[in-house]
């Protein structure tokens, strides 16, 4: 572990041990990044949320994310390993994205919740891989797929998705950035691909289209 991160590691340990000052320090440190992710997520769903007090929602969601870091004896927070190449803020940012996506999808209390049934966006059955592609042309459905995938990925998986797929970093660069072997990066890519396909099929299924039965062709 790099020495630069040691004070933060110690802070996290103290907070997990119930030190109120450390908890408050982490709240101060992590609130901006979480709040930013929350604000962006809520903004994307602004249409579903007309009339809501955005400020209040931002605070509520920020609190939920912070609490989730400490849930189950701090399982999420304990997973942070600075040796993996993610700063605490980046790590928590990915956790926040995942948590927010989950809350927004499942929280029945919230008018922000997106209706996963978007049958109106579908124009054809999904009986083959190509028809899956065609049906998922809807931008709204891809938004749902993106959120759902975000919800499934670990912070490291999300970071790799961003680095390798979104920012087109090479496998070698990613391996260096995240302190892992190239094989491990390839393995992650394969997992991302499988997760994506699984999510795509689920979203299609929930959207009311006929079940998709054929296997993916192409590479993994």
């Amino acid at each position: 572990m790099g020495t630069a991160a040691e004070p933060e590691v110690a802070l996290v340990q103290r907070a997990l041990g119930g030190d109120a000052r450390a908890v408050r320090a982490l709240v101060d440190q992590l609130t901006p990044v979480i709040q930013s992710r929350v604000a962006r997520a809520l903004h994307r769903r602004a249409r579903q949320a007309s009339g809501r007090n955005v400020r209040q929602e931002v605070e509520d969601f920020t609190q939920e994310v912070l609490v989730s870091l400490f849930t189950d004896k701090g399982r999420a927070l304990r997973a942070w390993d600075p040796a993996r190449g993610l700063s605490l803020e980046n790590f928590v940012g990915f956790v926040a994205e995942r948590q927010i996506a989950s809350i927004l999808r499942t929280a029945k209390r919230s008018p922000w919740t997106e209706d996963p049934t978007l049958a109106g966006d579908l124009e054809g059955p999904a009986g083959s891989d190509d028809s899956l592609a065609a049906a998922l042309e809807s931008r709204q459905l891809w938004e749902v797929v993106l959120d759902r995938l975000t919800e499934r990925l670990s912070p490291l998986g999300a970071a790799l998705f961003e680095a390798v797929w979104l920012n087109e970093r090479s496998v070698s660069e990613a391996a260096e950035q995240f302190h892992m072997s190239k094989d491990a990066v390839y393995a992650w890519q394969s997992r991302l691909g499988k997760a994506l396909r699984q999510v795509a099929v689920e979203v299609m299924s929930e959207s009311g289209a006929p079940p998709h039965t054929s296997k993916a062709g192409g590479s993994s």
Binding site: H43, R44, E59, F70, L132
Partner: protein
């Protein structure tokens, strides 16, 4: 459809989202930093989750009550406080109190007129330590009028950092006896002698607790009638 194509579509969606966020960021209100009170609430909730609440009952402070009574909420508060800083090891820090009701003063404003509370209004008394308090504290509350002091059975919430809050409807928290009151809040370390009405009466007259583990706050307010 190949996974490559799925991947390409996903990446397109992610880039589209990123571009939208760059050109149409969230409203400033959503991005304005959360204030200290909000962070207090979050911290209290996290402490609750950890299950490491220090000794005293720790209850997260709820969001400020938005008083919707026709009249604009008067927020405000009279603050004052007294406290004693007796020498000695690990004394409690000085506290500052704010009080809000139908009308009030806040912070350092002089208390030319005491804040008022009455039927239908919300009362909120918050006492904050000058610095976070380590370890548990206990709270006793009293209402003093003239030469009489009585225990005030209002529920006091204590944050993990030792802030104390009494809040609720005036009808529920106060006896039906309009007139001037002095609320005396005694905050003490466990083990310090519990305060009684006679102590509260003495404190209301300026007496200072001898125990460094005790802090006293007084707030004067006027209870209005129906």
């Amino acid at each position: 459809m190949s996974q490559d194509k799925l991947r390409d579509r996903l990446v397109e969606a992610a880039r589209r989202r990123r571009a939208q966020e760059a050109t149409a960021p969230p409203e400033p209100d959503a991005l304005a930093p959360l204030d200290a009170e909000a962070k207090d609430r979050i911290t209290a909730r996290v402490m609750e989750e950890i299950g490491a609440a220090p000794g005293a009952q720790v209850i997260p402070f709820r969001r400020r009550v938005r008083v919707a009574a026709g009249v604009a909420v008067a927020a405000l508060a009279a603050a004052l406080v007294l406290f004693l800083r007796p020498p000695g090891p690990a004394p409690l820090p000085a506290y500052e109190a704010s009080f809000s009701g139908e009308s009030a003063l806040r912070g350092t404003q002089s208390q030319a007129e005491p804040p008022r509370v009455g039927p239908g209004s919300e009362l909120s008394l918050i006492a904050r330590p000058g610095r976070p308090v380590q370890g548990p504290v206990e709270v006793s509350a009293f209402l003093v009028r003239g030469d009489s002091a009585r225990p005030w059975a209002a529920p006091a919430q204590v944050s993990p950092e030792g802030a104390v809050r009494i809040a609720g409807s005036a009808d529920a928290l106060l006896p039906p006896e309009p007139g001037p009151w002095t609320a005396v809040i005694v905050i003490r370390r466990p083990g310090a002698s519990p305060a009684g009405p006679r102590d509260a009466l003495r404190f209301s007259r300026g007496e200072v607790p001898a125990d460094p583990g005790v802090q006293v706050i007084q707030v004067r307010f006027e209870q209005t009638g129906p």
